[in-house]
């Protein structure tokens, strides 16, 4: 085991994937000499050269579109979108091409493209640098969507995403790039749990708390705080947002009967809506109260000084926990 930051774990995952398969090529803005604005590709240009670590012109549709062509040619492109808010110019190529070509050609053309997205807020950034666009991709059939929350998962899941014959949109919580954790760099991919499996980050019995990405840490803190009040939260890190591992989720919900889903992204037609609709469908008879969402508001991401009033935090999660448990809470007005 090696202690690595999330960022370094991702770099190690890229390197390992490039060593394992020479068809793996990286494309992105500033990923060469600079190593990317987050330094995730640091050192890879030196090691693999400019044919495999490709600084592209500044155009996201161009990046994804050329990756599609490379996939036609048998390559396995891994794209770095510089920030979450810059994926939209590539939306057409992702939704109409990347997601559909395998189906359109009935498997004759594969699209093993990984689209890495440094993701979400909480870092005091300028506009368009704190977006949480995952629901757009979850809603897009033909894509897989992964969100990581720690170095070990990041290292493994990134290699799995690259090895997967389907396109994967891969979300990296940039606020955690410097968080450290143990990573087994030599663990064979073959022994790893499938990419789509959720993880019980903390077991509990009273409420199932579902989340992903950087919010997993907040959820664990909430669980800690709740434990002090004698409430036992089960925290599940979804890890895969499409498909969601509903078997694991349902197992937990059948146990607790109460559900809170948390994410930074805004609420309307977000991932939490999907998860709650599916849980309700599968576990209705087990539910003891209405599943609740703790999410960003339905507003454009606010200026940095106000972002803390947008992002779900420990207190907002605990308030929702109180609500699903019918304890006094912000809406009952009493004694919160």
């Amino acid at each position: 085991m090696t202690e690595l930051t999330l960022g370094k774990a991702l770099g190690a995952g890229l390197r390992r994937a490039m060593l394992d398969d020479e068809k793996v090529v990286l494309l992105g803005e500033d990923i060469g000499k600079l190593g990317g604005v987050f330094r995730i590709t640091d050192g890879l240009l030196d090691e693999f050269g400019p044919r495999r670590v490709i600084d592209t012109p500044l155009a996201e549709s161009g990046i994804v579109g050329t990756a599609v062509g490379l996939a036609f040619r048998g390559y396995r492109p891994v794209i770095e979108i510089q920030f979450d808010g810059f994926v939209y110019p590539a939306f057409d190529q992702i939704v109409s091409q990347v997601a559909k070509l395998h189906y359109r050609t009935q498997g004759r053309v594969k699209m093993p493209i990984t689209i890495r997205i440094p993701w979400a807020g909480g870092i005091g950034a300028a506009e368009h640098h704190s977006e949480s666009p995952e629901a757009y991709f979850v809603h897009t059939a033909g894509l897989r969507v992964i969100a990581v929350s720690n170095p070990e998962d990041a290292y493994r899941a990134l290699r799995q995403a690259i090895a997967c014959d389907d396109p994967v949109v891969f979300f990296e919580p940039k606020r955690l790039y410097h968080h450290k954790g143990e990573v087994d760099l030599d663990a064979p991919l073959a022994d790893a749990p499938p990419m789509g499996l959720a993880r019980v980050a903390r077991s509990g019995t009273d409420v199932t708390l579902l989340t992903y990405g950087a919010m997993v840490g907040t959820a664990l803190q909430a669980a800690e705080a709740a434990a002090d009040e004698g409430i036992s939260l089960e925290v599940i890190d979804l890890r895969s947002l499409s498909p969601v591992d509903y078997d694991s989720v349902a197992a937990s919900v059948r146990k607790t009967g109460r559900v809170v889903v948390a994410h930074e992204a805004s609420r309307e037609a977000g991932v939490a809506a999907e998860v709650i609709a599916s849980i309700t469908e599968r576990c209705f008879e087990y539910l003891e109260s209405a599943p609740l969402r703790v999410t960003g508001h339905d507003i454009p991401y606010p200026p940095a000084k106000l972002e803390k009033y947008h992002l779900p935090d420990l207190d907002r999660i605990l308030d929702a926990v109180d609500r699903v448990l019918d304890r006094p809470n912000s809406l009952t007005g009493a004694d919160a």
Partner: protein
């Protein structure tokens, strides 16, 4: 300050700005830049090009007929563009890879399409009309211009593989307005990728004349991106062959991308759903009939004594056979069963979709006992 540029005030005149080898009446013209590229083309080969164009026009007419008869949902006729499509596609090497738009019936014909390949997509049976790897042609692209970037990416792969191949993107005059098509030029130039851009300027993007997209020759854009370009008479099959050989040579020899604007004309409607009488100026179609790519080559060959009525009869028979086979393939198509809608969305197992498939299978099964 940049040089003065002359706008194309009158699209009827704009062919005068283009390279050509055969005048509309079939006269062979000398062209110092193109001649060398077709020095080897003999009468037999010219007859083959004529045959290709005639067969293609017949296939195209059959597509229209099948649509009118309710056998196809839609058809995008290429009548008038035979010289562009045949001339450029016949210049390709077998290993080259083509990224076409929906109107490139002639290109897939030249790549060896099977009879069903022309109609499978338009009939609504499959997303892709043919097996891309068999023809080395990507599926017909409907999103305007998206395929140009795919061609550039493919060409980048060729470059990295050190292969002696070229990727080719076909697109229309309307497509040149899309961001993607411009980004494709930029990426191609940046990587010096072996890709050839073929813009078929057929003067219309549905109802919009090319002047909405550009009042200047479209080929004039490429040099600004560092890509040499040529504007060619797209109704002159010999000039199209020559221009494409120039462009492929350029790309194949490591000099990077090349760009062709073939100036041609869409003689039919945009698709069978379109009604050009709403927007086509009086007389325009007639003017372009006089530049028909088929009569032009026919005239040249006849004047040279290289085309007899027997030749033509044989070609006509081949055309009729192609149409017959296409019709038979179309009528013989069997629609896949309901659960096929779930097939190959993903390359690897997907728990979410499997569940939906199972539920839908159960739902379908629930009708089975019914009358």
């Amino acid at each position: 300050m940049s040089p003065q540029i002359t706008p194309i005030a009158d699209t009827a005149q704009d062919l005068e700005l283009s390279e050509r080898l055969l005048a509309p009446d079939g006269t062979r013209l000398a062209d110092p830049r193109l001649d060398a590229y077709v020095a080897d083309v003999n009468a037999a080969q010219l007859r083959d090009l004529l045959r290709d164009m005639i067969v293609l026009r017949r296939i195209d007419a059959e597509g229209v007929a099948l649509q009118r008869q309710g056998q196809l949902g839609l058809w995008a006729p290429c009548q008038g563009q035979e010289a562009t499509q045949i001339g450029t596609a016949r210049a390709l090497a077998p290993a080259d890879y083509v990224f076409p738009s929906y109107r490139e019936t002639g290109v897939v014909y030249a790549r060896g399409a099977q009879p069903g390949d022309y109609v499978r997509m338009w009939r609504g049976e499959e997303g892709s009309a043919y097996d891309p790897s068999a023809l080395r042609v990507a599926p017909f692209q409907i999103i305007i211009g998206a395929q140009t970037l795919h061609a550039v990416g493919y060409a980048l792969g060729i470059l990295h593989d050190g292969a002696d191949e070229v990727a080719v993107a076909y697109f229309g005059d309307g497509a040149t307005s899309q961001g993607d098509v411009n980004e494709a030029m930029i990426f191609a130039a940046s990587y010096q990728a072996p890709v050839v851009f073929v813009c078929q300027n057929n003067h219309w993007a549905i109802s919009e004349p090319v002047s909405v997209q550009s009042q200047f020759p479209i080929a004039g854009r490429a040099p600004g991106f560092g890509i040499p370009s040529m504007r060619v008479d797209g109704n002159d099959v010999l000039a199209c062959l020559a221009a494409m050989r120039w462009a492929l040579d350029h790309a194949r020899s490591g000099k990077g991308p090349a760009y062709i604007e073939a100036v041609t004309y869409r003689m039919g409607p945009h698709t069978t759903a379109d009604d050009p009488t709403r927007y086509r100026p009086e007389g325009e179609l007639e003017a372009w009939r006089r530049r028909d790519p088929i009569t032009r080559l026919d005239a040249y060959l006849r004047a040279a004594g290289e085309l007899t009525d027997e030749h033509l009869a044989e070609i006509q028979a081949a055309a009729d056979l192609a149409a017959k086979e296409m019709r038979a393939a179309c009528l013989g198509m069997v629609t896949r069963p309901p659960l096929a809608v779930f097939d190959r969305v993903y390359a690897e197992p997907h728990t979410g979709l499997e569940r939906q498939r199972d539920e839908y299978a159960a739902y379908l099964a629930s009708f089975e006992g019914e009358a």
